[in-house]
Symmetry: C2
Subunit: 246 residues, 2 copies
């Protein structure tokens, strides 16, 4: 069986939260191997000189030290790696990827404590720098999402989107001054790494999942059907395609 270009690990199962990213990948015709959150990472999925590995709310305890070394070596050879936010991404709730081989190649530096920013008044993406994955999307009419992992940009990494916190006091709407990394890229050897610090599934995804007037029904093989906005799907597709070609 030929190796699939994308390995998607985490987000529970394809019947659960993974139905979103899995559904969008399938809708875009991007074939992928899937590893549920409660299963250990198979080494053969991680040992690759190209393609893309996505870690999305995948518990670090299921990615052994050896597996993390193998994945880091693959990126060095030319594979791409993207980490997507969640309570089990970056540091997360109780400590996941803040230390070790994966931590060192991410475009952001993880905190050393619970990094979850559950922001009840909403968070808005802001374009910091033009990038192919952002093209053709109305970033001046952005969606609102609800949370992300707090990180700091690694020196030399490229920040593309930042997260701005909304502040609502009665009739007064404003943005808080401070911004946090939302989407960043870096290189590691011949490979490319990406960090998207919010989640693509509820609840952190918030209204982002409904971005775009057209509705898309998407379903991964063996997954639950999801209904999402077409701009949400377009953004994810462009992001994954960029990382596949990088």
């Amino acid at each position: 069986m030929p190796e699939k270009k994308v390995v998607f690990m985490g987000d529970g199962s394809l019947q659960g939260a993974a139905a979103y990213l899995g559904g969008v990948l399938s809708h875009a015709g991007i074939d992928f191997s899937y590893v549920p959150s409660d299963q250990p990472a198979p080494l053969e999925c991680l040992d690759r000189p190209s393609g893309l590995v996505i870690l999305s709310d995948y518990p670090a305890k299921n990615l052994s030290g050896q597996a993390q070394e193998t994945l880091a070596a693959s990126v060095k050879k030319g594979a791409s790696l993207m980490m997507i936010g969640g309570w089990e991404s970056f540091y997360g709730l109780s400590g996941e990827y803040h230390r070790g081989p994966i931590a060192e190649l991410l475009p952001v530096e993880c905190r050393e404590a619970d990094d979850r920013v559950n922001w009840c008044q909403g968070v808005v993406p802001r374009v910091v720098k033009k990038h192919p994955c952002l093209e053709g999307l109305p970033w001046d009419e952005p969606p609102v999402f609800c949370g992300f992992n707090g990180t700091s940009l690694r020196q030399g990494a490229e920040l593309v989107l930042s997260a701005r916190l909304l502040r609502i006091r009665g009739e007064n709407l404003s943005f808080l001054g401070e911004e946090c990394p939302l989407l960043a890229f870096d290189s590691y050897g011949r490979g490319t790494t990406a960090a998207l610090t919010t989640d693509l599934a509820p609840h952190w995804v918030g209204g982002w999942v409904d971005w775009g007037q057209q509705r898309i029904n998407a379903q991964a093989p063996g997954g639950a059907e999801v209904e999402v906005g077409h701009l949400y799907a377009k953004f994810i597709t462009q992001l994954v395609n960029f990382l596949l070609k990088a």
Copy 2:
């Protein structure tokens, strides 16, 4: 076995979305009977002269005509009924409670077509009228949620919260002028009815689930554990307690 005061029906299962409302009820010490979305409503739960029945994303196909008549008769005798929003509440995606005995006693009138408002730029609650269930909560620092069922207020019903749509255009933040019913009450015979048109579970709940600085870990018997904001829990608890005493 003495009848439980609250019957909570819907939101998938206690391992899924129902873990939120179920967890908050348990945290507040409010005992409840639970009916998962895929099980038909047992008539003995619906035939009661007091207490509260909550329908939250519970498919109307599992609440037969006879069951709906029984529930309506119970409200007439003095029970309370609350419908909480979702893709299978009010009209929902494909037609649920827009006709029949339940439709007639709700404080809002359902549309006759897909009523889902999936608003990607966020929705904010606004207090229209003081009410015991709103007390002690900072409504001038409200949470942002992501969607609701579009309805119109029934003549004579009491509108307590309305839903205001956020509009984001670059740096410009505003509210759209039109508001929709978010929380309304009405009476039917000796009973009280309530409609909360958003969902208390992801994804429509958005940032509302994180309202309040203190974090609460809550778990219904047999349910998944959830971590929520203390003001989210306080609001739900006050709403349910009002309907139990009404």
